[in-house]
């Protein structure tokens, strides 16, 4: 755990589950991103998330382009839940930037996490402020369609939209309330905050939106709107079957890359210096040997000329010297 604290990137963890309700089975995949926004410098911490989303689109695109398209695995993200910290004032700049980047590529559903720290009046005010910021900053969030065939579901849809962003309390434990009921909730010394109580939080609304009423809509908007947008932009710049360009502009990796490159050039320089010195030594050695050779050669020549001189001038006294 401690090593993770100083690790500088966001993780992507995938959990798979199969749900079955009334003879209808759903393969549910949940992707978790621990480490998001936990660092001192949170610039670009949404990049791993955005890359993951685009990679899923890319995989699907490639599979569509195969000759045999039978067993297509669809891992495209159909909904993204963005958990906002309830600080009581407004959205933080990190939230704004990340939501803008993510909302342009996938169905974004903003959620107020740990809603049990805000009193009801503060919660209402916070929700209003968050929606104001979302409008002012042009952040795209998922808007469920309102009108449908019967009035009952239209009414329900309107209620759901007015409750956005959803305030959530999370608990998987069962606790006992003062009046003896067993509910899923959080036990405090001063009371029990119930998860499935509409007075306490919006969990039931969110659950029905995600898994009951709007599941089909979420899937089809992903297919028709977001995936299609990705496909169009990619097709414009790439030919059929060409692999995607990889842009590695993650700042943290860039720093490491620079460091590695600097080390590499230094090593190369050192080796070059070594070779140069070796070469110079060899040359010096060669010159020295050549000089020795020349000296010897000169000596030999001298001796030869002496011999010549002696043999030329030695004919009258030749008998005398040959002794």
């Amino acid at each position: 755990r401690r090593k993770k604290q100083l690790d500088k990137t966001v993780d992507i963890n995938i959990h798979k589950a199969e749900l079955e309700e009334k003879m209808f089975s759903v393969k549910l995949n949940v992707v978790d991103t621990p480490g998001f926004g936990d660092f001192v410098d949170n610039n670009d911490c949404w990049l791993p998330v955005v890359d993951f989303i685009e990679n899923q689109y890319e995989q699907y695109l490639r599979q569509e382009q195969q000759p045999v398209r039978k067993g297509v695995v669809d891992m495209r993200v159909h909904a993204c839940l963005y958990f906002i910290r309830p600080n009581g004032h407004t959205l933080k700049p990190l939230d704004v930037r990340a939501m803008k980047a993510i909302g342009a590529r996938v169905n974004l559903i903003p959620i107020i996490a740990k809603a049990d720290t805000l009193s009801p009046a503060a919660l209402r005010q916070f929700k209003k402020r968050v929606m104001d910021v979302i409008d002012a900053q042009s952040i795209r969030i998922y808007q469920p369609p309102v009108d449908s065939e019967d009035e009952h579901s239209s009414q329900r849809n309107r209620e759901i939209i007015s409750a956005m962003p959803f305030a959530i309390i999370g608990s998987d434990r069962e606790v006992k309330t003062e009046d003896g009921r067993h509910v899923k909730g959080r036990l405090y010394p001063w009371g029990v905050a119930e998860v499935e109580n509409d007075q306490h939080c919006d969990f039931k609304k969110l659950r029905s939106l995600l898994i009951r009423t709007h599941m089909l809509d979420l899937i089809s908007t992903t297919e028709e709107v977001h995936y299609d947008k990705y496909r169009t932009t990619q097709m414009k710049t790439r030919k059929f079957g060409e692999p995607k360009l990889k842009k590695n502009d993650n700042k943290k990796f860039r720093d490491e890359e620079e460091a590695l490159r600097a080390r590499f050039t230094e090593k190369v320089k050192l080796e070059e210096n070594r070779f140069r010195q070796w070469e110079q030594r060899l040359i010096a050695e060669r010159d020295r040997l050549n000089k020795d050779l020349e000296q010897e050669h000169n000596l030999v020549k001298q001796l030869e000329s002496e011999i010549e001189a002696i043999s030329n001038s030695g004919s009258p006294n030749g008998k005398f010297f040959r002794k």
Binding site: Q5, F39, N87, P93, Q137, Y188
Partner: protein, 337 residues
């Protein structure tokens, strides 16, 4: 409309009746002890309501709605100072609270630490200059920070990188007391686990939080201080409204599923923290700042030689003589300032 001071039911009450022999007691009768607190933490953790609850009146008004058009740009850090005069069990305290707003709210927070450190050093420098004047200002008000209250967000897991870095960098300049803000979002079990994890992190990274047991000479106090250290980090819940019962007024925070009483020490540590800050440990904190932290800073600063002293101080270090000769001109310039 402030309610009366809360009744203290903790064991600290027996200590308060015997006043500790300290020169501060005598000074305080006349002028009021100078006491400087700084509140640091991300926005939304309850710093301002903490101050209001501490002083039992509204010192900082509620902020107005932020502008949604500028939500994508973080506000820069600023230091807002509030002066309050309190009276605690006969002692007058002239409290000055500095709220470090904007800490940790931006995308890239690496410059926040430097700003805080510069601020604290600036206060020390002022005192250093003041001490070396020929003619000292009698009415000089000491702005050195005596305690820094750091608000940890109630994530329930452990300390984040931001928290660790802050305590590590500022622990040598000021007494840091870690506090869990908005502690009403943690259940009883979660609170215990969180406190344990935070303490383990503090031990593992050797973070310099204020050690209540620094004065080992007073053995009765030592045992009580060790008990206090079991509560670190203190869980804080702040007051939303005051309910008037038949007997007295109760400070509460109301939810659809229950009501929290701020002054009940089985529900949160606010009462204990207030007692420590304003009654029992005020002398300790001030002493530690002046005798240890300030002296360390002074030694470091004078060794480096960045300060000319002229004919001021007798207890200058060995290296000061060089500093004196090097910068006589700067010393005279500072005296005129």
């Amino acid at each position: 409309m402030a309610p009366s001071a809360p009744s203290i039911t903790s064991t600290m009450s027996t200590r308060a009746t015997t006043p500790r022999p300290s020169s501060y007691r005598y000074k305080s009768e006349k002028r009021g002890m100078t006491y400087n607190i700084m509140l640091v933490g991300q926005s939304g953790l309850g710093r301002r309501t903490f101050l209001n609850t501490l002083c039992e009146r509204e010192v900082i008004p509620a902020s107005e709605a932020p502008n949604p058009d500028t939500a994508n740009v973080a506000d820069p850090m600023r230091f807002d100072t509030y002066e309050v005069k309190l009276e605690e069990e006969g002692t007058h305290i002239s409290l000055s609270v500095i709220d470090a707003a904007g800490f940790g709210d931006g995308l890239d927070n690496t410059s926040c630490f430097k700003q805080l450190q510069d601020y604290i050093e600036a206060q020390f420098d002022e005192v250093l200059v003041e001490e070396s004047r020929i003619k000292r200002n009698r009415r000089y008000r000491d702005h050195r920070l005596h305690v820094l209250i750091y608000f940890i967000p109630p994530t329930g897991h452990s300390l984040r990188e931001l928290d660790i870095e802050l305590i590590r960098r500022l622990g040598e300049y000021v007494n840091i007391i870690p506090v869990i803000g908005r502690a009403d979002s943690l259940t009883v079990d979660e609170l215990q686990t969180f406190k344990r994890n935070v303490m383990r992190d503090i031990d593992f990274y050797k973070l310099p939080v204020y050690n209540f047991c620094w004065d080992e000479s007073d053995s009765d106090a030592l045992k009580e201080n060790r008990d206090i250290m079991d509560f670190i980090p203190f869980s804080v819940v702040t007051c939303d409204e005051v309910l008037d019962n038949d007997y007295d007024s109760v400070r509460v925070r109301r939810y659809p599923w229950g009501t929290i009483e701020i002054d009940d020490d089985s529900q949160c540590d606010f009462v204990l923290l207030r007692y420590i800050l304003l009654n029992s440990h005020i002398a300790d904190l001030i002493n530690y700042t002046e005798d240890v932290l300030y002296e360390n800073y002074r030694t470091k600063k004078l060794e480096v030689g960045g300060f000319g002293e002229g004919e001021g101080e007798g207890e200058a270090d060995e290296d000061d003589d060089e500093a004196d000769e090097d910068e006589p001109s700067s010393a005279s310039a500072k005296k005129q300032a």
